[in-house]
């Protein structure tokens, strides 16, 4: 399952990230924010109005906003 499909509030662990699907700078930024293989994450908020973009991801004690394209590159395993 990819991160964009993870149900709200469900804890999970990132098991792989398809970095080649992302722009270099954005990949670097996501890694710097701790969104990398091994990180424990959950989806705190998803979308505005009826859309499903952007997402607010809890990683450790931090909340990071990102778009669905980024989340789709991250494979997660519910924990």
């Amino acid at each position: 399952m990819t991160l964009d499909l993870l149900p709200l509030g469900q804890n999970a662990r990132i098991i792989a990230v398809a970095w080649d699907q992302l722009v270099d700078e954005e990949a670097q930024r996501l890694r710097a924010l701790g969104l990398d293989a091994g990180a424990k994450v959950s989806v705190a908020h998803r979308g505005v109005f009826a859309g499903s973009d952007p997402l607010a991801i809890t990683v450790g004690r931090m909340t990071v906003a990102l778009r669905r394209v980024h989340a789709r590159a991250m494979t997660v395993e519910p924990a």
């Binding site: 700078e25 670097q28 930024r29 924010l33 701790g34 990398d36 908020h45 859309g51 931090m62």
Partner: protein, 617 residues
């Protein structure tokens, strides 16, 4: 032992660096730009326990020494001593958010590994405790090999201890510069170490319901969140336009008093006219916008300091994505409704250079407060004051339409630019949502003072110069006795030439003459028309009313509407052009902006004029 001269705060964004910087240096700060880039350089004086001053720099927040934005590039280069003209800070003060230790230790390790004199400020320990997290600074100090000082910047806790540690870091370094050198590591290794170090430093951790998670449940709610945001924006706009009026009126009165006082005190001469009608009136007409700018910035700074700004960007991201921008562009565009200058300056927080450029280029289309005097005069003169339905006035509706025209124009242009000139990699939106915090009044006051000063300095330089030049153009060569001065002046001749160009869009010579001084600032168009129609009323409001009658007699409705349409788009503001030049480091983009906005204004005014004429208005 040599005297310590410089230190710098480094750390992740949202580590509380700015609050710590304010607490350590007080209000005496110097803000400048790093040469060649548009990144702010903030420095101030830190007094060591020995009484000696040290220059403390607040480096832009960064996630690592491998930069992904202009801000981060400056931080990395300054730390490494590679920034031209900047010597590397002698002591590095790493600021860590205590409640986000694991994340912040990743960058901290990179800095510590440089082996330079380093002190760690374990900041916001009170917020961590509020979240149920108790840390052991001693254990952290052992693990990192550098002094760790717990601080609470907003309550001034731990500041003396931090200053003492900074002073001592120098002595240690002088004895053995390679004291705590560690081998270079990669990101994954640093993250594993960060995890282990953070875990070891935790004394106790109780999972409480964290306040910010609760707040986010409401403020980031897919339906309630946007409603709250729009309600808040409504309050901000109300405050900017209504709340500023008494202050603006008082300033206006002050400018008028000064104008009349100087006029009365000096013998009639050209020099007196230059001072009063040129400089005081010209610079004064811009300074009266200071209250609006201060009020707007109060809200923006408060939203930023409280952590809400990142939520606003989150809520607006979807809409901005529709035109190829991201949520980060929302704040600069919002600021531009007061004035494009602070708006364009606020684009510095946009990490993607193409996003940033696009935002700068469309910012002038947001209806700034300088357009209001022009709109107000023309609408009052030509649009009947009657109700359309349900108490909605026709005049207000026209004003709203002008605002909407600017927004729609900006969105369309953004869409086109992102597919052509600023085309590039997917414009992403990756942003940390910081914890909520009560903004501290002193930090807000310092920020407001700095913004106000930047604005006034600009009024004192650029606007001053332009005003003098325009006054000269309007007053030379001198007209023969009994002849109209404007007709004889250089500006009058330019207007005659310009009239040929703007005739197809319905403008007469008086209108084209008004456009020339309005290049300095849009609102000058009003006083210029008033002068042209020789209305000699002293009070602004009175002259506006009298001017309205003159306009209604001399212009047709299609002409007036075309004039309004022109001002929606025309880039008639020297300061905006100047600030664009500074922010984009060259003349290429400001010239492009001038070109496309004038073209848009010309087409919009022409279409309006001919459509209105065809409709028989």
């Amino acid at each position: 032992m040599t005297r310590l001269r410089s230190a710098a705060l480094v750390g992740n964004p949202n580590a509380g660096k700015s609050a710590l910087f304010n607490a350590l240096t007080g209000a005496r700060q110097k803000i400048a730009n790093y040469p060649g880039v548009t990144v702010e350089r903030k420095s101030g004086r830190l007094i060591l326990p020995s009484g000696e001053p040290v220059e403390l720099t607040d480096l832009p927040g960064s996630y690592g020494l491998h930069p992904t934005s202009p801000d981060e590039e400056v931080t990395a280069k300054v730390i490494l001593g590679q920034f031209p003209g900047e010597s590397a800070p002698e002591v590095l003060v790493i600021v860590l958010d205590a409640s986000n230790l694991e994340q912040h230790l990743v960058f901290a390790q990179e800095v510590i590994a440089l082996g330079r004199p380093t002190v760690v400020a374990l900041n916001m320990v009170d917020l961590a405790e509020r979240d149920g997290l108790v840390l052991d600074p001693k254990a952290l100090q052992e693990a990192l090999g550098v002094p760790v000082v717990p601080t609470v910047a907003v309550r001034r806790r731990g500041l003396d201890e931090l200053a003492a540690a900074i002073a001592v870091a120098e002595v240690r370094a002088a004895i053995d510069p390679a004291d705590h050198h560690q081998p270079h590591t990669n990101l994954t290794e640093r993250r594993l170490t960060a995890h282990a170090v953070a875990e070891a430093a935790i004394i106790s951790e109780t999972r409480r319901h964290r306040m910010h998670a609760k707040l986010d449940r409401v403020l980031l709610h897919p339906w309630i969140g946007p409603v709250i945001l729009f309600a808040l924006l409504f309050v901000v706009f109300q405050a900017v336009f209504a709340g500023a009026t008494p202050f603006a009126d008082a300033l206006d009165g002050g400018v008028g008093w000064l104008h009349d006082g100087v006029k009365g005190a000096m013998a009639p001469s050209l020099a007196r006219d230059l001072l009063t009608d040129g400089i005081i009136a010209g610079v004064g007409s811009v300074v009266v916008f200071l209250p609006q700018i201060v009020i707007l910035f109060f809200f923006i700074l408060a939203m930023e300091a409280s952590g809400y700004m990142a939520r606003a960007a989150f809520l607006m991201d979807r809409m901005m994505a529709g035109v190829g921008l991201s949520g980060r562009s929302f704040i600069p565009l919002l600021s531009s409704f007061a004035c494009a200058i602070p708006g364009i300056m606020a684009t510095r927080s946009i990490t993607d250079p193409r996003d940033r450029l696009t935002t700068i280029l469309i910012a002038p289309m947001m209806t700034c407060s300088a357009r209001l005097p022009v709109y107000a005069v023309i609408i009052a003169a030509f649009i009947p004051n009657r109700s359309v339905a349900l108490g909605i006035g026709l005049q207000g509706l026209v004003l709203l339409a002008l605002y909407v025209a600017g927004i729609v124009g900006a969105m369309v242009v953004a869409l086109i630019l992102r597919r052509s000139i600023t085309k590039g990699a997917a414009s992403g939106f990756i942003m940390e949502l910081p914890k909520y915090q009560m903004p501290r009044l002193k930090d807000l006051a310092i920020g407001l003072f700095q913004r106000a000063w930047i604005f006034l300095r600009r009024a004192g330089t650029i606007i001053f110069t332009v005003t003098v030049v325009l006054w000269l153009l309007l007053n030379f060569p001198r007209a023969a006795d009994g002849r109209d001065q404007i007709d004889a002046s250089i500006a009058g001749h330019i207007a005659n030439g310009l009239a040929v160009v703007v005739e197809p869009i319905g403008f007469n010579r008086d209108m084209s003459l008004a456009l020339i001084p309005a290049m300095a600032a849009r609102e000058v168009a009003v006083s210029s028309l008033a002068t042209t129609y020789a209305v000699g009323a002293a009070d602004d409001d009175e002259s506006n009313r009298a001017l309205g009658a003159q306009l209604a007699r001399r212009w047709t409705l299609p002409m007036a509407l075309a004039f309004l349409a022109w001002f929606v788009f025309a880039p008639q503001c020297m300061s905006t052009i100047a600030v664009t030049r500074r922010e984009t480091n060259g003349w290429k983009w400001p010239l492009f902006m001038l070109g496309y906005l004038f073209a848009l204004a010309y087409v919009a005014a022409g279409v309006t004029f001919w459509a209105a004429t065809a409709a028989g208005l």
